[in-house]
Symmetry: C2
Subunit: 273 residues, 2 copies
């Protein structure tokens, strides 16, 4: 998917919501455990109930790997279902990968080509040649960790490297990499005040923003500081939406929570127009 297609969907749906499909068998409704593939059944129900409210879905690979082969099968089925049924949806493999060049190439191929995701998240610690293999895929996107939403972000990311915080150094350095126009960045919502600083460095890039809801971030603040002319934000919510209820009608509750966020987003988009 091109960035312009994503922007167009955002305006059409009046939403920049990304739903995190972090499926934990201990948290999904009990009745689904009787299904042959509880994870996919859960995902399909959530997707069908919310696809008109969200522009992106983001399965975190950890939750699938934790279920072994069954988990990988469910991940394959989920991305296949999304691509076939809702091709207008932007898909994110939240994998946080990164390795030496020829190995990163294997990861890139696995997620962007074989599984067919539109994007994959990567970690920056190993530098340019660990990320560039992901950037070389046309109309695909690489979402690099910049400033994450967890407490550990203060261990290294916000520490100063030659007078400048590491996450800023990461943002600046990455702009010079080959095909850097395919880069997006992860910036946690728990630190809304950082967004203005970040926008000085990467005014045009899309930011994937976890941490609204369960992790405590505020949507209004993030938008005030982080939005750009193309909206430029994908706000992720996982637990707050997908685990809204454990009842038989869990997907309706999920849609209800997604709708609340979408309505807030619609008002924000109205206000800036």
């Amino acid at each position: 998917m091109t960035t312009n297609q994503l922007i167009s969907e955002i305006h059409k749906k009046q939403s920049f919501l990304c739903i995190g499909l972090d499926v934990d068998l201990n948290k999904i409704p009990k009745h689904l455990l009787e299904e042959e593939d509880p994870i996919f059944t859960f995902n399909k129900a959530i997707i069908d109930a919310t696809h008109h409210l969200a522009v992106a879905y983001k399965p975190n690979t950890a939750f699938y790997e934790a279920c072994g082969i069954k988990g990988w099968k469910a991940l394959e089925k989920t991305i296949k279902y999304l691509n076939e049924t809702y091709p207008e949806i932007f898909t994110i493999a939240d994998a946080k990968r990164g390795d030496i060049g020829n190995t990163s190439k294997m990861y890139a191929k696995a997620f962007l080509e074989d599984l067919g995701f539109d994007s994959v998240t990567v970690a920056p610690y190993m530098g340019k040649d660990s990320v560039e293999p992901f950037l070389s895929f046309e109309n695909k996107h690489t979402i690099m960790l910049a400033l994450t939403s967890n407490v550990g972000a203060f261990d290294f990311q916000t520490q100063k490297m030659e007078g400048k915080e590491l996450y800023k150094k990461v943002l600046e350095t990455s702009k010079s990499w080959n095909n850097s126009e395919n880069l997006m960045y992860v910036v946690g919502a728990t630190k809304a005040e950082y967004f203005s600083e970040i926008r000085k460095i990467i005014p045009d890039s899309f930011l994937l923003v976890p941490g609204v809801g369960a992790q405590g971030g505020n949507l209004q603040d993030v938008c005030r500081h982080g939005m750009n002319k193309d909206v430029g934000l994908l706000i992720n919510s996982s637990r707050g939406i997908i685990y809204a209820s454990k009842d038989l009608d869990f997907s309706i509750s999920a849609a209800f929570e997604a709708k609340k966020l979408q309505q807030q987003m619609m008002r924000i988009l109205d206000d800036i127009n």
Copy 2:
């Protein structure tokens, strides 16, 4: 496996060799492609031919993920075979994972508990709470990226953070984390001169050292600067061993290459005793 058991194996085998099982279907002998599970068949042959020369095996998950479900099945079979047939072998899932706390916990469970690896590699960018979930498993080990062997290592890892290179900051900070005695570190062999500096910060920890052979590092130099009283090194070689030949007797060629490294290691161990 405890660290003492690993040290004991090193002395018994006179080897601190780790063999990287980075299996690429385009590089393995052609005749194996007719097998039902070419990846596992290849791994089993390599392991059976080299297990007396190596103390550790390290499949890099990228190569298995690149083959989808078949790849994950082969990974499961490989670790199961290692644990059942050669329980004295130290196993490393080279996964370079790292995420927010509850998600890292899923990865840790997947690799250390469900798959049953002795250790897993992780990335430090997200800090303490992204790594500690891995450290809480008894007699398991977490191998954190410090200074990697690729060119991109110079982008951030060797840049100074408050007067000190980032990789040193990573090493120092990690010493205060819960269960840090379960930490080992990845340090690339391409930078032997850095090992003396690293040993000042973490004199006792084991270092996993990629980059000997294909990536150009020198074994003698690494040992001179990096060895400690417990040896404290696992030297990884992947391509140089597993792709030594594409003939029918590829595993014999692999054993021959492994033996060359083991013999060098034996001489080094002799010299220090």
